[in-house]
Assembly symmetry: C2
Homo-oligomer: 761 residues x 2
């Protein structure tokens, strides 16, 4: 097991679910790191925690403060006495030294300081303690340090500013803010660490309560949100999240899941005892933990105060090796001596019994939250490996075959079994849909005259090879090397061209129309029979929902822009969304499911009405029609779309962008009523095309995260824009709120446009 | 009179208050532009308005719609009929042609369209009309076109998107959105223009009411705010603001004043009749107009529907040349025939009787809203012209002399008239303060031993010349060429140095300490007498208030960043704020004054406590004190500051940044209680140092404007940060709101820092 320098875990190749478990003891003090490491490793832990400074240092700090306060009392001109300064750490103030084991050590800053204190003396001393400890830990080669979240909610900005300073200390040090899921840290039950304010100026303690804010489950998240915003989503700042026995609602669980949690702390009190008296986690906690363990880089896990590591000094005390057991624990403790590593053994058991991953999780391994630019298959020629990835899908081509079979039967009935059905696969690639057409023909017994049209000269080589070598193809597939828009159709009798009965295409992108399926299918429609011609897909729609995704926002922030004219915020990304949270939960899904409110933006149907294409063609020439009323450019205007959607957001949060999906009806048989659909929409995917892996969602980012208060409404405006050469998207959002029957604005994003990164037609 | 291509007026040099008055007639239709221009010029107008298209075009558009609706009724498959297209303008659809007079023409787009209509047909046709008209006007060389603000508040985003498209039409066309101050446009009283929706689909008319939003005085501003945000503060988009007879509260007047109003429309109904029956403006309107006329580029003024221009066809109708007089107007109309140009004559009268400008307005002419980087006098050597500008101030040096005189008298009394007072002017520049010291000495009769210390070798040449030539100086001033921080002080007896009794300096910047006065004065304090030594100034404080300033925001948006490492949003600017609005109004100032809530950020006092400087010096060496507790760097930490200020904002708006000011106590005589102060704080300036011109305010920008709803609170956190080499500022703001006794967050800015642009020590 190793930790990378950035503090991220390198997943080991053999273990399905890597899990690094550390031992944390808030009373640890005088032990040397090497002894500690040996003990931890012997007990089976991967990591062990260590405070940077010891009790001697705390006493020293207190004496400095005491001297200062005394000098104030003595000196009449109190204002002239400067605030006290701390000297660098003395050798006996810390047990830490640089050494080989530092990668298995997680350092802890002193929990008794209060950096955001309203008392200038306490804040000044606390900042110095924190700076000394973090700098020394970094010097010693520690790569992970945990610091306690702010005690005082009124001065988050002072606390946040101090954290920002720490981030500059070392490029290799990951700083973990120890935060509760909500409310207060459970660790405070171990009251051995009195806070500086209580030690020095009891009169201030009262003022440090959260007396100002709405006591709300999201308060701890609010604190995090403010601090990380001040630190501009710095990747060196993450969360050590303390998991309580009783988890908050799913919505808040999801919120934390979307944040950079790099450490999970499980205090002893978060365990329950099973029937046999062994410590276990509740089902809810197990599930939440599993969710984190499926992350590409799972958080470190700290077992806090579960048992002392040391075996030294055991004897009389050995009867009770778990620390300060509650009466319930004492009562349910297994007879005789409890094994000190029961909690750890249980975690290892959980690790080995993690649920299997779904096909898309397995397929997407490594792609989680990795942003790619959408394909431009119309202007670029794809490589074979890209086709190969597409062809792996276990669902998509099966569904295409079902749709083709339905259409063949419908047309065969219409033709009275009199002739073969002419099917053209346009954009055939390496031919997977051609195979499906031939299989559907075999299975239904409907004869086909099959065409494959492909513009990519490289893929066309493969199509020809396959026509010769594939026994199913058997040289019966008619191949045409052409952009589908300029294909003249299958040759018929006497030099005339036949029309096609079924056009089969797979041109859909993550947002449905974003790879120009509408434009391509309009362009090939001239070969389709004007009355009974069928397009597979028949229709498709784009869907979206607002999301919080700090991970993607941070990723974009850290990227340099594509080039001088392009802007990384002004284009959508294809991404397997993983560590994110839905801001709008569907009123139709039950609260405990936390299902998103995904709404339809717009849709397209094929074939397009003939009158529409006639008008479009006239516009391409820029001529005025004799009948008046037609002229100018705008030949593709009929494929422009816009929508205005309103999303109710129950819980406050920052909206970092819009997640986009699509649904498509491949074929809907009007005779049988059967319908074959594909969907990446998380609401309908399981029902319509479970386990389909071909498409990841699309993500439309906002440059500036948009704050949405509890219960406010996010109004999303989106456009599919087009001129005669390009297609692009524009998106923006406004925040509104109903209060006392009045609707009022609370903010808006800028208007984003991908015009400069648009898809060329 | 000419209009520049950007649509801005070039101020004529002779006229104190340039005012360009145009004639607008909403019923104008069939006149040719050249006739119109001749008539307008004859009547004394500078400008005249013209609709781009005429009634013939409107009829044509209606017939296109009619045809479409008919075809829909006939065609069974209604979905297949594409929305109708408009052909380019026909010759008889417009009276406009390219020509020489276009710079004096203001074009008007058709007011009967509804670009944001929820009806797709009306929206589609309206967009085409607007695009045709704007493109044709641009083609003809028109540089100003007015378009009516949106009819429909529910679809502002569609309207805004259409406007954004127009901004791309021509680089020379200024687009003015015609908007009311609040509520509805007065022009609608002339009901000759029925809206498209009413003409075509009466069922939609009801839906276009503002039925959703809170009916509020700020609604019209909201509309503007949304549209210009969508258009990203594009400088080609501005406002044609219609001024009603009854103005809204000062707060809303100020808000509009802060926006890019490039045209003011005064409808006939906004005039009142004076005792003699002549049309005049109310006092409130006159004052508001004056405010606009003091802008660097005053808006164009349109008199709307006040009288027909044409004299043709007069005769029977000539009895009533003002248009459709109300009964009151008819009754008060002067006997006989009213002069058609009474309104214009009145405007010319107003123009000639504009109030005089204040000294700072005259001095700052040309500097209004012009952002400069703050001076770095410590690292750069100033040029003579910069000193000259500083020395022009009518107040500052007078006040310095008063302060010096008071201090001289106090010290003289302390010394019992026994010896000359040693005064050192540190950073003497070209010597203005030296002169004041000598004058104060003459006037008080207190003898001085005067020193002038200057590091700038160029200014030092002038000091030496002046010592020889100026009769007051008379070679009695002791000159020292030195950075004040390394000056060893006046030589005393037996090779020892004397201490200085009074240190006089003028090191304050727009934010008080931003030009490193604290660091400089700390650095020279070693020459000051430790017991009775006086620093002039004795203390100073920084003050700030949040402001809305779309003009500066737009200016920054349009700038390229300073260089790769610097960021234009990460530094403060010195700027003579003019077109801006205070977001927080002081609870202490009366509502009708709309006075800002300016709060103190922090302060400095000199001389600093000796113990502080001792500690600071020890830290510079990074050594540990034998007594423990002192060490490390941070020699200037005692000059770091921070504040957290809360500003209540009554009226919603975007906060674009913080305006900063300073106040200073030059000298406060403890014996007489007399106090000499300077202030640029708008709340106290008039009382403390009226007409002082030396300092413009400072402006700390926010990259992303922060929305503040009605009644919300802006919490500003600010820091003066320092390391051992630099001083810089950091600033951020959070929005909070009290509702139902709970305080909740509504948004926050990023944390801005000028670290990379900090002042070198």
């Amino acid at each position: 097991m190793t930790l990378s320098q950035g503090g991220q875990l390198l997943p080991s190749e053999e273990a399905a679910t890597p899990l690094y478990v550390g031992h944390h003891d808030t009373q640890r003090d005088e032990t040397s790191p090497s002894v500690l490491l040996a003990q931890a490793q012997e007990a089976g832990y991967d990591l062990v925690t260590l405070p940077v400074t010891n009790g001697g240092f705390q006493s020293h700090v207190l004496s400095v403060i005491e001297q200062y306060v005394t000098s104030l009392t003595r000196a009449p001109e109190a204002k002239g006495v400067p605030l006290p300064l701390l000297a660098p750490l003395a050798p006996d103030h810390t047990n830490l030294s640089p050494g080989e084991g530092t990668s298995s050590l997680v350092a802890f800053a002193s929990p008794w300081i209060d950096v955001g204190s309203p008392d200038p003396l306490i804040a000044h001393i606390s900042r110095q303690v924190l700076n000394l400890e973090v700098a020394y830990a970094a010097f010693c080669g520690i790569s992970n340090i945990a610091i306690r979240g702010p005690l005082n909610h009124a001065s988050i900005s002072q606390y946040g500013r101090a954290v920002l300073e720490l981030l500059g200390v070392s490029p290799y040090l990951q700083i973990h803010l120890l935060l509760p899921v909500s409310g207060e840290l459970e660790q405070d039950i171990s009251d051995e660490h009195t806070h500086l304010a209580e030690l020095v100026r009891p009169q201030y303690v009262k003022g440090t309560e959260m007396d100002e804010d709405d006591p709300n489950e999201y308060n701890s998240w609010d604190v995090w949100n403010t601090i990380r915003s001040m630190c501009n989503y710095n990747s060196k700042l993450s969360i050590a999240l303390e998991l309580p026995r009783q988890l908050p609602p799913l919505s808040l669980q999801s919120r934390w899941f979307s944040e950079p949690v790099r450490m999970l702390s499980l205090p002893r009190t978060s365990f329950i005892r099973n029937g046999k008296g062994y410590p276990v986690l509740s089902n809810a906690l197990q599930q939440y933990l599993s969710r984190f363990l499926r992350l590409r880089f799972a958080p470190l896990l700290l077992l806090s105060n579960v048992a002392h590591l040391s075996t030294a000094g055991d004897g009389a005390a050995s009867q009770s090796r778990i620390m300060n057991p509650t009466p319930a624990e004492a009562a349910t403790q297994p007879a005789g001596q409890e094994d000190r590593t029961l909690h750890l053994q249980y975690m290892r058991h959980l690790q080995q019994t993690q649920p299997l991953r779904s096909p898309i999780e397995r397929f997407g391994q490594g792609y989680q939250d990795y942003m790619q630019s959408p394909l431009q298959p119309l202007t670029d020629n794809l490589e074979s490996i890209t086709y190969e990835v597409f062809e792996k899908d276990p669902i998509k081509y099966e569904w295409y075959e079902r749709a083709i079979a339905l259409a063949l039967k419908d047309l065969d009935a219409r033709f009275g079994n009199q002739r073969a059905v002419i099917v053209a696969v346009v954009g055939a690639g390496r031919g997977p849909l051609v195979t499906r057409v031939l299989q559907a023909s075999q299975k239904t017994g409907v004869a086909v005259d099959c065409w494959a049209v492909e513009k990519n000269p490289n893929a066309y080589v493969l199509l020809q090879k396959r026509n010769r070598s594939d026994p199913l193809w058997n040289n019966q597939v008619n191949l045409a090397k052409s952009d589908m828009r300029s294909w003249s159709g299958p040759p018929g009798l006497a030099g005339r061209t036949n029309t096609v009965d079924i056009l089969v295409s797979e041109l859909l992108g993550s947002f449905g129309d974003n790879e120009l399926s509408p434009e391509c299918l309009d362009g090939v429609q001239h070969v389709l029979h004007p009355v009974h011609g069928i397009s597979i897909p028949q229709s498709y729609s784009a869907h979206l929902t607002p999301i919080a995704t700090p991970k993607l926002h941070a990723d974009l922030l850290s990227r340099s822009s594509l080039d001088v004219t392009s802007d990384k915020w002004e284009l959508p990304y294809v991404v397997m969304l993983h560590q994110y949270d839905y801001l709008a939960v569907s009123p139709e899904t039950a609260e405990e499911q936390h299902g998103p409110d995904v709404q339809e933006a717009w849709s397209f149907a094929h074939p397009a009405p003939a009158t529409l294409l006639v008008q479009a063609q006239k516009r391409a020439g820029g001529m005025i029609d004799a009948g008046g009323g037609v002229g100018g450019d705008g030949t593709n205007e009929h494929n422009s779309r816009s929508c205005q959607l309103r999303f109710k957001c129950d819980n406050r949060g920052f909206c970092h962008g819009l997640a986009g999906y699509f649904e498509t009806v491949l074929y809907h048989s009007s005779s049988t009523g059967q319908k074959v659909e594909l969907s990446t929409n998380p609401v309908t995917m399981a029902e319509k095309s479970k386990d389909m892996i071909s498409w990841f969602p699309i993500f439309f980012p906002f440059r500036t995260p948009l704050y949405v208060p509890d219960g406010a409404e996010l109004e999303v405006s989106m456009w599919r824009q087009t001129d005669d050469r390009k297609v692009w998207y524009e998106w923006m959002a406004e925040v509104h709120e109903e209060a006392n029957g009045k609707r009022r604005g609370l903010g808006m994003s800028e208007l984003h446009t991908s015009r400069k990164n648009g898809c060329l037609m």
